[in-house]
Symmetry: D2
Subunit: 207 residues, 4 copies
Amino acid sequence: MKPDFVPQGSVEIPPIPVQDELLLDPGKTAIVVVDMQNDFVKPGGTLAVEDAAATVEHIAALLARARAAGVKIAYTQDTHYPGDREWEIWPAHCAAESWGWQIIDELAPAEGDLVCRKSRYDGFYDTWLDHYLTRIWQVENLIIVGTVASICVLHTAASAGLRWFHVVVPANGVSALTPFDQALTLRQVSWLYSGSVVRREDDIRFT
Amino acid sequence: MKPDFVPQGSVEIPPIPVQDELLLDPGKTAIVVVDMQNDFVKPGGTLAVEDAAATVEHIAALLARARAAGVKIAYTQDTHYPGDREWEIWPAHCAAESWGWQIIDELAPAEGDLVCRKSRYDGFYDTWLDHYLTRIWQVENLIIVGTVASICVLHTAASAGLRWFHVVVPANGVSALTPFDQALTLRQVSWLYSGSVVRREDDIRFT
Amino acid sequence: MKPDFVPQGSVEIPPIPVQDELLLDPGKTAIVVVDMQNDFVKPGGTLAVEDAAATVEHIAALLARARAAGVKIAYTQDTHYPGDREWEIWPAHCAAESWGWQIIDELAPAEGDLVCRKSRYDGFYDTWLDHYLTRIWQVENLIIVGTVASICVLHTAASAGLRWFHVVVPANGVSALTPFDQALTLRQVSWLYSGSVVRREDDIRFT
Amino acid sequence: MKPDFVPQGSVEIPPIPVQDELLLDPGKTAIVVVDMQNDFVKPGGTLAVEDAAATVEHIAALLARARAAGVKIAYTQDTHYPGDREWEIWPAHCAAESWGWQIIDELAPAEGDLVCRKSRYDGFYDTWLDHYLTRIWQVENLIIVGTVASICVLHTAASAGLRWFHVVVPANGVSALTPFDQALTLRQVSWLYSGSVVRREDDIRFT
């Protein structure tokens, strides 16, 4: 690698281990649904991710089973105001109270779910997510779904991993902009955060 | 990408823009030297990175020029004690006060440099790095070098980017375990944190 | 003091210096209005502070002048959900979306003001307050008003002081439960955080 | 209180409840020894607290019993470098590696104790204290001793209370500059953080 410090072209993905099945104690588990807002998911959204639509039914199925089992649910909600520096590097998106900022109807939070408004990529940065997970709910496992895989999903997973939560990502519940970005997300989760990658959301059982 | 949510084999790297030259105000700039400790760099280190040795001369040259120009210098120093959970997922490494924990002699901190002992991948997590950068030194640009690229370098860069520091990474000053990991590091820095990637450390000028 | 480690009865207050007048650059200044919500301020609120009503007109006058001068405005909004451990040590209060949780009508946030929902006493803890003050607005002075003086006002002032904001508290803009608590608040602000205490909100000038 | 918003003279201390005896599970308990460094404790220290000397034997006795019972021990160590803004508001103190910065010989950390270097009043701010307490040791009770009561002890207690640790302060293990400051410390701990104040360190039992 030495003569070419900036890799280009195609590259080999290190093997990403996938678990066939994962059993989790529902009383020790929470789900974080990351940024499933109109601007990221729906046609017409200012930063729509093409592959996000295909994840909605899987996330919905996971949430339905999780609620029935008593698993705690949190959402992150990307929230920006005029003057935010993110709008200098991205198109204006997720303006507070706008349509694009709303969580999509199919995944609307239920009574008792927690919503974490955030200003940057990481759901743990400048939000009360950690306070609830650690001090109030006292969970150990964190299932992370949503979009964009290599951005807000990955940075939330990183902060969870650093705090020693057991991070779980079902690959059909996250969506990326390129295959490289999907690969880097699952690489970091499975290898670096000692997390569990499963192929499908129904490979996770609450028992 | 939809039918195969867990990418395997080879994958195309998105283009990584490289700047030919970068001019920085030395009074508004700091360098963070990440984890250049014996255990990560030297033969016999418990987590030695093969490509790290080739970066030492480039980091040393950068530091010499930076000190002459009055740029602030910080080091992260990975630090673990018996019972640390990191030793369950990695071999025991960087035990406090051990040889492996020492910063390599070639890059020994000078009088006035700041050392940030850290327990996890991110130099901003549970350290005083941000307090010094933001409240004491009040810098805007953060040049990040060291190892491991996709681990402690990347997580430090991420936290810097979220806080709106201008992140700068010279590709010949960081070392990864695989070309994929080097690529994902530079992809995230250049694209996601709006950072600047240069090929060589001497593409950075302090003026 | 040695034979009686737990002081009782009456005690001498150390002198609290008061500045007659304070000039602040409006472009470098923000105001944080702490917890001026119905439950803390209005008759019928579950944790009403008797002296809070007298502060409303002074806070309103300060905000009017500040808005005219272009000073940034942030609010903290104490926010709790069923199951919150705070309701084990306090009566249930500031339940999300309830009347008691609303900021009082007289001080309703205006377009462009920032609202920081918080779960505990400190407006910097698990909120985006610091991100806005430091990374977006880049202010230096922080005027803090609201209630309860020795609780949410003081803990927000402490976190601001630790981050080297210049903390400013007008005594007629904060309300405590006892004279001792008012005294300890102003003691800590003026002495420990190197802050500025003024007697009245109109002792602060934006120039 | 309304006509005199800045209290002066003497003031009545609200009652501070004191527990006669407190039983703690040693496996769920840690002690934080705050800033017992030469500069704060010893004659000739630049910020010596007159009453700190009398606390040393009590802290030593507590540590001896705690170590025998397997209680975890952490120290904070105030640490400053030239250019630190704290030296603009306080005399220069606790310069890294100096005599004044050393923890006093009588309370020297033992093998396996954790030392947390900190730059400001709060042992949780920019240190790894919380990471160890919450993620590695997973304790619930935090006994806090040391100096200065109303400064570094109190701010560490506040951050512990906000994170829902059970805060315990033995009054003969902390030292203040004035009776008012001792009173405000114990007032905040017992009332605001729902902590436990005991009169003497031997009122705490590990069982």
